[in-house]
């Protein structure tokens, strides 16, 4: 799988569990703190519910569940609001970091050994001093097949 990023090569970083992720800065509309999420009964796994972003309904995605990362009680939650097509989604994550400019040529393809949801969503990895930054594709993350009941 080839890794692609917008020409600017910048990603918004966020942490889920122990892992840091990056999404293309062009896909991100804004980052907001914790908001009340209205649960939607019968919604598929990985869907946390709806939140009200200044009068707009946003589908909240439970990234923990989506990427099968276990949750700790101490985790606080933040929302990375991303746009896919003409719809808004909020990625519910533990912590939001800086915008990081991926130096050209440092984005490696995702390891072939990744399985399941990770293999589908992850488009590449960046080696950083603190560990690996997994770059995920917003559209693929949202459209995980297991979201459909």
């Amino acid at each position: 799988m080839t890794a692609t990023l917008a020409p600017a090569g910048e990603v918004v970083t966020f942490r889920v569990g122990e892992q840091w992720f990056g999404v293309d800065v062009m896909d991100v509309q804004e980052v907001i703190g914790h908001l009340r999420i209205a649960r939607v009964p019968l919604a598929g796994p990985g869907i946390a519910g709806f939140l009200n972003l200044r009068g707009q309904i946003v589908t909240a995605i439970d990234v923990h569940q989506r990427l099968e990362i276990s949750r700790h009680a101490s985790d606080s939650s933040m929302n990375v609001v991303v746009r896919d097509g003409d719809e808004l989604f909020a990625l519910v994550v533990d912590e939001v970091g800086d915008v990081f400019a991926v130096p050209p040529g440092t984005l490696d393809p995702a390891p072939a050994s990744l399985g399941g949801a990770w293999a589908r969503a992850c488009t590449g990895v960046v080696r950083m001093d603190q560990g690996l930054l997994a770059v995920v594709d917003v559209t693929r993350l949202l459209n995980e097949p297991n979201t459909r009941p």
Binding site: R36, F50, L51, R54, I57
Partner: protein, 706 residues
């Protein structure tokens, strides 16, 4: 300027902008049928409307162009550059005429014979290429003659300014701006709520009164902003009376147009999407549906035909109906044409019900009109109606009784519409029900909650004379059960002809809410008609009662639906009895465990073969036996039929009415001497004969009826 003309110009200018691109695109991709259809429609719309406005020149040009396009559409002609050029020439002429119209409000004089000749050469049987020798010069001249007068151009630009001065009471605002306003108002509501909460903590706060004031104004502002997007459906109707009148005059018919529910509000986008389809439908009704006064009198109908437009809210949808009392649509004719056109095989077509067959009317290019008039009849129209309606998430359906008229029912989603809703709670969560689908609320005591009649897994509530299937909202939505005593509320809902009950914990409020569409990931769930944001900023799901009941498996008691009563391993099944009337006040009962289903079957669908009554049922023939000689199949009425299954064989016993389901220990007090009856018992306080199902089974198999 005449409103009709103004609308026509605005609409045509919009269509033409796209038309140029489409025609050029078609040249590149000649086999693109949908492109061709869209070009055809654009020209057709112009042609259709200019007939009413008295624009003969425009009409001739567009009519001829349309005829060429028709040949392209049927495949008689290939979309080669030469044809395309000629069509583009026609488009240019149409544009020029429209520009002049906008400037002077009259059609400019001019000679289009050259253009018509150019176009008509494509209409000949074998279309000899350029049979008419037209030199490039001649064409150049012709084009020159068509060039716009200088003031036509400036007039085209100033049309909008003109409109503004003519109607100073309204202005055009972009929808984007309205959406932005809506969001801002939403944000304001949230801030207000925070302020309200802060000031309520301290009763003596000096901020109290101004915050109250702010709160009220905020609510009003939000309401007003919401209303900016709403329009009465009547605004899409304004040009219909004239159109109907003109058609009536032209065809010598007498037609009355009755418009009901014009004030029904819906989102402006929906109103717009409705406009063209409505025009097409009404035009069709007036031109094809309504007969001439003589024909109407001969058919025993009043000489004046009637077209009724009716708009209303139903079950969370906006319904717009166009009904005429004309000659209706002949289903057999549609069937024949569908077969001829290869839309369906002969066998399939004959297996389809009339209702299904009539839907072919919505296929592109389908027309039952024998002649092509300039009003309608080329088979465009109904497909436009359907595609426009479906584009905004609506549905369209058609009912017609030969000789009695035709009803087209357009169902638009309530997305974006404001609806009254019932706010309910279930297991700690809040939901909204569209109030339009709520019939009544019944408070249930603990005792009543424990005492539903149960058929298989379906709980039934005795609502006066009716048995209504019931589901619990919390269970249907998979919410974790919780112990709670006390009362609950049963919400009786109606969707179409079906009626059912949904149990909720509490009814909290009624509110006018703005329906917002649910995101694509949630849409798949299917139980929600949308969601909304309550005054306090909470997001709440709007339950679609029919979808919910369907999902939860509550069979509804609508005519075509089935109350499944699949055999149930109850502790003592013989104790549950289905009680029914068999005419003459006589009451009979059968053990519920032997019953497979209850059906309502129309007498008209009952067929007779060799003296046996039967009905086509789920793909096989179901023999019917009347429970007593007093049970008759009166034409036009529906009959209650109890369906029994034994092994692979099924049969139905026709009864006059289903009365009740009772739990009782049966003591046959009088053994019967009558065949078919096991004996008589007192059930629910009345002497009731208990049927011998195996006797009737044998009867049905042998085939003697009575």
């Amino acid at each position: 300027m005449d409103d009709l003309l103004k609308d026509f110009l605005a609409e045509s200018t919009e269509n033409l902008a796209q038309l140029d691109q489409d025609v050029v695109e078609l040249e590149r991709d000649p086999s693109n049928a949908s492109l061709l259809n869209s070009i055809f429609r654009a020209i057709h719309t112009i042609k259709g409307t200019c007939g009413f406005l008295g624009l003969p020149r425009l009409e001739t040009v567009s009519h001829t162009a349309e005829s060429v396009l028709e040949r392209l559409r049927t495949g008689d002609l290939k979309a080669e550059p030469d044809v395309i050029s000629d069509i583009l020439r026609a488009v240019d002429v149409i544009k020029t005429i429209l520009a002049e119209l906008a400037a002077n409000q009259t059609e400019p004089a001019g000679d289009d014979s050259l253009l018509i000749a150019l176009l008509e050469q494509w209409l000949g049987a074998d279309a000899p290429r350029h049979a008419i020798a037209i030199g490039p010069e001649a064409i150049a001249n012709a084009t020159l003659e068509l060039a716009m007068s200088p003031d036509a151009f400036s007039a085209m630009r100033s049309t909008s300014a003109d409109q503004a001065t003519a109607a100073p009471s309204s202005i055009r605002v972009s929808v984007k701006l309205l959406d932005a306003l809506m969001n801002l108002a939403g944000e304001l509501v949230l801030s207000r709520n925070q302020l309200l909460e802060m000031s309520s903590r301290d009763e003596d706060s000096p901020f109290g009164p101004p915050v109250q004031q702010l709160s009220r104004i905020t609510a009003e502002l939000q309401g007003a902003v919401i209303k900016t997007r709403m329009q009465p459906v009547g605004s899409a109707w304004s040009k219909l009376p004239r159109i109907v009148r003109d058609i009536a005059r032209e065809t010598g018919k007498r037609i009355e147009l009755d418009m009901k529910g014009a004030a029904t509000e819906l989102d402006r986008q929906l109103v717009q999407a409705l406009q063209d389809p409505l025009t097409h439908m009404v035009r069709n009704s007036a031109d094809h549906g309504i007969e001439s006064p003589e024909a109407r009198r001969a058919a025993g109908k009043p000489a004046i035909g009637k077209i009724v437009l009716n708009a209303y809210h139903e079950a969370g949808h906006v319904i717009v109906e166009v009904t005429d009392d004309g000659k209706g649509i002949n289903a057999d004719r549609v069937r024949r044409i569908a077969i001829e056109r290869g839309l369906v095989s002969k066998e399939e077509a004959h297996a389809m019900s009339d209702c299904q067959v009539l839907r072919f009317i919505f296929e592109p290019g389908f027309s039952t009109a024998t002649e092509v008039t300039h009003i309608s009849g080329r088979g465009v129209g109904m497909d436009v109606v359907r595609s426009n309606i479906e584009r905004v998430g609506g549905a369209v359906d058609l009912q017609s009784v030969g000789g009695q008229g035709c009803t087209i029912r357009v169902r638009l989603p309530l997305t974006l519409a404001i609806v009254s809703s019932l706010i309910v709670s279930a297991r700690g969560e809040t939901f909204a029900f569209p109030q339009a689908s709520v019939l009544e609320l019944i408070r249930l005591s603990d005792d009543q909650l424990a005492r539903f009649d149960i058929l298989h897994n379906v709980r039934l509530f005795r609502l006066r004379d009716d048995l209504v299937p019931v589901v619990t909202l919390g269970d249907a939505l998979g919410l974790p059960a919780e112990e709670r005593g006390g009362v609950a509320t049963l919400v009786i809902c109606q969707a179409g002809a079906a009626r059912f009950g949904i149990i909720v914990d509490d009814v909290v409020d009624t509110q006018e809410i703005v329906v917002k569409p649910v995101g694509r990931l949630i849409r798949a769930v299917g139980c929600y008609a949308g969601c909304t944001i309550l005054g306090d900023g909470r997001v709440v799901m709007i339950v679609d009662p029919a979808a919910l009941a369907g999902r939860a498996g509550a069979r509804t008691n609508a005519a075509p639906e089935v109350v499944e009563t699949v055999q149930e391993p109850a502790k003592n099944p013989a104790d549950s009895l289905l009680v029914f009337g068999v005419g003459d006040d006589a009451v009979q009962a059968v053990p519920l465990s032997s019953v497979s289903r209850l059906e309502e079957i129309s007498s008209d669908s009952i067929e007779y073969a060799g003296g046996r009554a039967m009905v086509q049922y789920r793909g096989f023939l179901l023999p019917l036996v009347p429970a007593s000689p007093a049970v008759t199949f009166t034409s036009g009425r529906s009959n209650s039929v109890i369906v029994f299954n034994e092994g692979s064989a099924s049969f139905g016993i026709a009864v006059s009415e289903i009365r009740d389901i009772v739990d009782e220990i049966v003591n046959l007090e009088l053994a019967s001497t009558r065949p078919g009856v096991l004996g008589t018992a007192v059930i629910a306080g009345a002497a009731t004969e208990v049927l011998d199902v195996s006797y009737y089974m044998e009867r049905a198999r042998r085939g003697s009826v009575s």
